[in-house]
Point group: C2
């Protein structure tokens, strides 16, 4: 699937996994957010239900089995190519889509679910450099996006009830 | 954009527009849900923010200007090809994506926003056969999907506060 210069927006799902008052974070090995800490997740596949995609992505990236409970965030992220930047040529590729005259390099619509842990052993895997459980007071060290912090806060509120 | 036999899920946005205790419905002229009454909306474009897509689709289909307020529903709809059914050939097309051994004909992830009316004159337009304001007691006549009824209920609760 083409993630860069997409022909249409890409749907990604994320799992905000809360367990023993900590949240599961991963450090991404790919763009966008390469090298940054974030919520585990990735692109939804054709025919895959939203909750199924969350379970698969969290399992692939961290080895853990989780159960999605409820949507805690819906957001979009549009990143443009730098002005004048070349982009990789591809014989099959049409012209990149433009918006307001600029080439759209990434466009994700992200749906995050609060999740409960079911089973498994934490083991960073595909697409991630590291994965760990983080308690709320330590979150400030992880340079999360505002959207990720907000989704985490919502998941703690929901699952602490 | 290819909506049938897609290479990845298609993101659609919908606007549940509430005004004077009625909700705006459209009758679709295209698959899926051809001929059925539904919430106005359609596929999000590359580079287009979610709220921007809602405003554009409601305007295109009904002539009305609206302001999205909050997400009221996130759902997915996966429709498979009938077993043994042929599908249109297309020289550029790869094999259709399969899931559980079946070809995925449509896959939408739908994000519905409760909206307030801003201005405009109701005028059914592109992709719709009809559009009208409907009061809750009359909704049962419109054979809405369970998901649409649920999103409408949520929007009434939210915007009646």
């Amino acid at each position: 699937m083409k993630r860069e210069y997409p022909d249409r927006p890409v749907i990604a799902v994320g799992g905000v996994v809360i367990h023993r008052r900590r949240v599961l974070l991963v450090r991404r090995s790919r763009e966008p957010l390469k090298g940054r800490w974030s919520i585990p997740g990735g692109a939804l596949e054709v025919g895959e239900r939203l909750a199924e995609g969350v379970r698969r992505e969290v399992k692939e990236e961290t080895g853990l089995e989780v159960e999605p409970v409820q949507v805690v965030a819906v957001l979009d992220r549009v990143l443009y190519a730098r002005r004048g930047a070349a982009h990789a040529k591809d014989s099959n590729r049409q012209q990149p889509r433009r918006r307001h005259g600029r080439r759209v390099r990434y466009h994700y619509v992200i749906i995050d679910y609060a999740c409960r842990l079911k089973s498994g052993l934490l083991r960073p895997a595909s697409d991630v450099l590291d994965a760990r459980w983080v308690a709320p007071p330590e979150l400030t060290r992880y340079r999360l996006t505002q959207a990720a912090r907000s989704a985490i806060g919502e998941a703690f509120r929901l699952l602490s009830k």
